[in-house]
């Protein structure tokens, strides 16, 4: 036998452990977020390019209330993730449902109430930018709510444990990411610039 064949391969193929798989999944999710930063960053850039130091005269109460709702939902999501980590299943299941309900309420606030206001998608750059920013964000909130409900259903049937719950962690990180996007969208849409009456 030659010397070359005597050397054992350094990396033998093996099934990744749950911890290894989680580490890879986590990295994959963050790389996905980097791609999303380009999407939302482009929307923010278009807002500042097209609106400059102005903004449509939107209802400040709706802006503050929807922001508050999303913030509270993030708190319940964080609580749910901590709860599954410490095997507190009752708190976990309850908080996941509360998060999904608050996410739905946020959608109702933005799409149901704010979209029904004076500003229409056809109102020039103000309408176009406002609807694409809130619409793209709302799409992410809807997918986040679906993700939470899928995970809630899996957990309700006994899935996940205090040690193995990547699905929950992934959904939680995604939900908080949606919150981070709104942290920048809220001042860009509602607070920065001189209000301009469209009609």
């Amino acid at each position: 036998m030659s010397a070359a064949t005597d050397i054992a391969p350094v990396h033998e193929a093996h099934e990744p452990t749950y911890a290894e798989a989680t580490k890879r999944n986590r990295l994959g999710l963050w790389i996905f977020f980097i791609s999303e930063i380009f999407l939302f960053g482009a929307l923010l850039a278009s807002r500042f390019y097209l609106w400059g130091n102005t903004r449509p005269d939107l209802d400040q109460n709706i802006g503050l209330i929807t922001t508050g709702i999303l913030l509270i939902s993030s708190f319940f999501m964080a609580w749910a993730e901590s709860a599954i980590k410490y095997n507190d299943r009752k708190a976990f299941l309850r908080n996941m449902l509360i998060t999904a309900a608050l996410g739905t309420l946020f959608i109702i606030g933005v799409v149901g109430v704010e979209w029904g206001g004076e500003l229409k998608p056809t109102d020039g750059t103000y309408g176009a930018v406002f609807y694409i920013m809130t619409g793209m964000h709302a799409l992410h909130v809807i997918s986040g709510v679906i993700l939470i409900l899928i995970n809630w259903n899996i957990a309700r049937k006994g899935g996940y444990s205090s040690k193995e719950h990547w699905g929950i962690e992934g959904a939680a990180i995604y939900w908080h990411y949606i919150d981070v996007v709104w942290v920048f969208f809220y001042p860009a849409l509602y607070l920065i610039g001189t209000p301009v009456s469209i009609h």
Binding site: A19, G68, L71, S74, Y86, D88, H176, Y177, V180, P187
Partner: protein, 74 residues
């Protein structure tokens, strides 16, 4: 028994931390709102507040530090 107590204390500490971060975010949002209403040109301040809020969420809710944490802590 000792281990159960320690776990319970860790759980309470984590719940408490989540609550503190949430309250900090609420406070910053209210400051953001009042700054926007009362200042003539609040742009710089609003960007700083948004960056602080995002930093808190990324660190404490999204746990970005787990990306470079050794596997034995999983």
């Amino acid at each position: 028994m000792e281990e159960t107590n320690q776990l319970e204390q860790k759980k309470k500490a984590e719940y408490r931390q989540n609550l503190f971060i949430f309250l900090a975010l609420v406070l910053l949002t209210l400051i953001e709102f009042f700054v926007a209403i009362n200042l003539d040109d609040p742009r710089v301040l609003l960007v700083i507040i948004a960056l602080v809020k995002a930093g808190l969420i990324v660190q404490f809710f999204m746990h970005i530090y787990r990306l470079w944490r050794p596997e034995e802590h999983e």
